[in-house]
Symmetry: D2
Subunit: 353 residues, 4 copies
């Protein structure tokens, strides 16, 4: 890798969170990128080694405050700031800086839906209109041309990779989708919360935010778009669960087939959608998607199964929430935005066990 010329300079805003750390991990080995800016307001002045000991020794710059950032030093920023803060900071960036946003601020296209779920009016509506929803496999051309890409949430990434090929082909009823979702605990971030302590989350299993999770409207928005109906017309059942593992996310989608369609049809749709995709893998018949199959990689594995109830099916998809569900997909989008090979820096095979 040493011989490749570094062609762009990148910054990470909010580098002290888990998505920030994962972006660092991927970018410090990306052959086309120099990491020149790391911000973390509460850790400003600290070295990477202090904040993330596993990333010491790579010569990365120290953390600084966002207010002290020199934007002329970067071609692109990955933005892992808290929801709400993001839109204010991004709005102040020079237009020459491209933005790959990992927050939720630009995912919802309808300002009213945003306000309803996030509790305040959106404060960068003009930017929001131009933001591209960065589910790469379904928006590749728009991503290439975008200045601001809003990367999907981790749950929507898995759920939409599983649902969109089926909905767009009219194979399942978009009004009867149950998404039973399971996530590793990094999904809750590095902030200090009682329920993510080892002794609280370990050896146990907790549903949370039943029917109230902010990823639900995002999933509904994209399913409605794919089904060709108005955003408000689709509602999905979405129940997330916290699983005692650090990484990994799996969605079990219980769907109703449209008249006469079969599981074979679902697999055909996946085949058509993903056969040339470098990061989505339809498993062979009967093979179960597991989070162990994608850990540390940008892969999504997926499969479809008969249900016992006639006319229904179960589809399952698994990703690493910090890679394809977050920073990996962000790098994938950045690659497209800057004309790199889409897989550059994302070739790592999964880590198992």
């Amino acid at each position: 890798m040493t011989s490749t010329q570094k062609t762009i300079k990148a910054g990470i805003l909010g580098a002290s969170g888990y998505t920030g750390a994962e972006a660092m991990r991927l970018l410090l080995r990306h052959p086309g990128v120099d990491l020149t800016l790391l911000t973390a307001d509460r850790k400003a002045g600290q070295s990477v080694e202090e904040v993330y000991p596993h990333l010491g020794g790579y010569g990365l710059p120290d953390m600084i405050s966002v207010a002290d950032a020199d934007w002329s030093s970067v071609d692109v920023v990955f933005c892992g700031l808290p929801h709400g803060t993001t839109q204010e900071i991004i709005a102040t960036l020079p237009g020459s800086v491209k933005v790959v946003d990992l927050s939720a601020d630009f995912r919802l296209r309808d300002p009213e839906t945003y306000a309803e779920w996030y509790g305040h009016e959106h404060r960068a509506l003009e930017l929001q209109k131009k933001a591209v929803y960065g589910l790469t496999e379904f928006n590749r051309d728009d991503v290439k041309a975008a200045r601001l890409v809003a990367c999907p949430g981790c749950y929507p990434t898995a759920a939409l990779l599983a649902m969109l090929p089926l909905v767009s082909a009219g194979l399942v009823d978009p009004e009867d989708i149950v998404i039973d979702a399971k996530s590793g605990i990094t999904g809750a971030g590095r902030g200090l919360k009682q329920n993510t302590l080892f002794s609280e989350a370990g050896e146990g299993l907790s549903p949370y935010s039943v029917a109230k999770h902010r990823h639900a409207p995002e999933i509904e928005q994209e399913i409605a778009k794919s089904a060709g109906v108005a955003a408000g017309d689709i509602r999905v059942n979405f129940v997330p669960h916290l699983i005692p593992m650090s990484r990994g996310e799996l969605v079990t989608c219980h769907v109703r087939l449209t008249g006469g369609k079969t599981v074979a049809d679902l697999k055909g749709a996946y085949h058509n959608a993903f056969e040339n995709e470098p990061f989505v893998r339809l498993l062979s018949d009967g093979a179960m998607p597991q989070t162990q199959m994608v850990r540390g990689s940008n892969l999504c594995v997926i499969n479809a199964f008969e249900d016992r109830i006639p006319g229904r099916a179960t589809v399952i998809a698994a990703i690493d929430n910090l890679v394809k569900g977050s920073s990996g997909q962000a790098v994938q989008n950045m690659n497209l935005m800057f004309g790199f090979e889409e897989t550059l820096g994302l070739e790592q095979a999964p880590l198992f066990p």
Copy 2:
């Protein structure tokens, strides 16, 4: 506890498995029971300390082969033998010995369904007719009078405690039930399998037996009975997942409400069904059932939630698969069969963290 007179003698067949060990743990402190017989064919001749070091030091008898058992020494046996073996051995027991069966052999009342799912004709049909399905809360009187109780599977225990009050009251459509189930790894037993190795199951999440799990027909049988329809008329969607924890089981049931019914109606039904039950606890509004709340105890915690899709709801129940889902419920049934207080020996509070 030392002063209570031991009034019955109990044996455990298949004491080397996890359900056997859990029965030992509970019974060795039960004030009315003397554990006088432990069988484990492949471990015959070994002490309890060798097979289960944590149970050494309690003066339990050594493991012997089933063939060497003296049935006159026991009033009751807990049977944790492999499916299939069970029915043959139980058929040979003297009628004076009561049986609490932990295997699947006597759970399915229809011999054809049994043969379809277990791959061979049932070999003790007369016994099967007399067996009582030991979901205690719903069959208490029959259990009291039974000689042979077939304890439910772990998944059916949780699923049926959640579903039967709603189905019997006509609050949900029994033909549109999705049971997304999650289990700790003890559910797969102590046998050596690659997928239950620490390094395979840890830090990961695996669905399995999608729509093909043997607990599905058992759940369907009891829901059909509760709905007042023929056994074959109900099919449920049942998808189990293996979770990286040792104990605990949680079912997330996605249901369709019958016309005009609400989540408040569901809670009312739970209140009616369980208000006097010592081992089932309806949580307060919004509180999430978690497996952490029941570890090591015979409790089931349960709650109901609005769905985003109008006319649907989510109900969630959690148990310890080795206690209420297996050996604890077995002791609960034994208490009834012998006239003990139903809670005797099962009073332990959950172990958390």
Copy 3:
């Protein structure tokens, strides 16, 4: 248990921590104790169910502030308050209230050592003089007569049960003891710290406080006493490690045998010390102490092994840090202080798996 008369009333100060919760778990089933007072300053006004959902449903009193406690309502308090706070509050209690202290405030007999390790002068020196060090097996008579018992820290409990029989019998050199200690993560408490988050502590292993842990002087104090030398004359090597499990503690002690002594001599000393102890179990030859053997119980398992280096040996002891290492030993001491059977309320067999 229902027929036993409750004879004393107990309170728990600092009930919202893990040791407090564990004291609740044990005492709510103790046949001689009514739990009538629970304090938790930051959770004052909350129900037990809110603070510890697994303990809801037992009719325990709500949490109140220490300032609002009615001391006339209790015969004994278990004190799980932060170090430093403890001594001030205990000093204000009426003399009629016995105290079982779980904090470190009264463990170190030398005020200078206390000040050195805890950073401030002791503020209740008169009480400290009267406090009895509650390592039950070695101070039984003093505990029976005490008003204030200072329960040992979790590490000292395991380390001293392993070391004292050997040191007092002159079998090992007290000046050449290496204690390599490993603890589950509950040992760090329920407070919010980054290093005890699931995603930080899981799938990993961290030494900490190398040669600087506050349990070192406590271990040294008791070893010196046992060896019959001045407290300052003994120093031990003590290195603790954080292990990715919730409960459990194991000490691996690397010792030098005094002239001509053998591992058989060590086992003989253990046999003499523990043969009548209800909670300490010397394992059979070659059997390894494991934390899995004691989870949820008040047991300590222990064994001794030959070293490869002539004249050296390895002794290993395992406990549950929240039971024998904390609240279980506290209940054991309370039993002695009030004339109950020493094992009352502590009979539970270990929970495995």
Copy 4:
């Protein structure tokens, strides 16, 4: 990576074990290597996807039996076969094939020691004489010239990286070294054993093979060599523990300083030994080595600490047992044997969380 020319062909013998899988993970992305041969006798005929689902989709060859291998198709083999089998198979390979051995067969130079610890006479003594011990940092020149490299065991790798700089500089007493070692469960391999089941190893901690582990003589051999004394003259205390995590290994070495030496001297020795090493990182003062800092990478992190006992110190090193402790170090050695950059294919940053 796509543009680099693949220059050598590699095979993995015993590809179905964890070290084999890890070698596959690393080599399938190595820019200079084509993986052309995978053997696994019991899995012969299976695809990689069947044996290791996470490595499906990379176009690797199917597993075959060793007997069916075409040795002319490979320039190098990584040998992850069981101990004993290895020596017989390697002895039959054509001399043109270089061998990186991951087994224990060629680590011990003294045939009597081998026979004592492995229970049979060595069956390839001529090869053993030529084998180079592949602790890269200390044998770099010999590795470059070798045909057969015996990669160190996982524990010896960590222990020797920590000990050799100190022993060779005369800073510690080689006859008073206590190595308290901790390993993740992959260290026990993929074979089916009861003690590595999730429900047995999880939430617990087990010492094993106290003073009897086969890595002890290997550590002693290299320490003796470094100290300049005969192999049999050094004995170390070595106690390994099984930790509930999949990957990672940490050694806590308790040492006695030679007259007047200090921890600063130890750090100086580490600095001298490792300042130009790409894979060994001396941490800054007070920073604790943790396995979380090296997961998935070929790194070793190391540090030294004062002991409470005057004249003693504690040094700690952490590695990923499957990478630096096994397949990563193997690739590092292969790079040297074939003239590649030593770090090629091993540049991945650690995966955390």
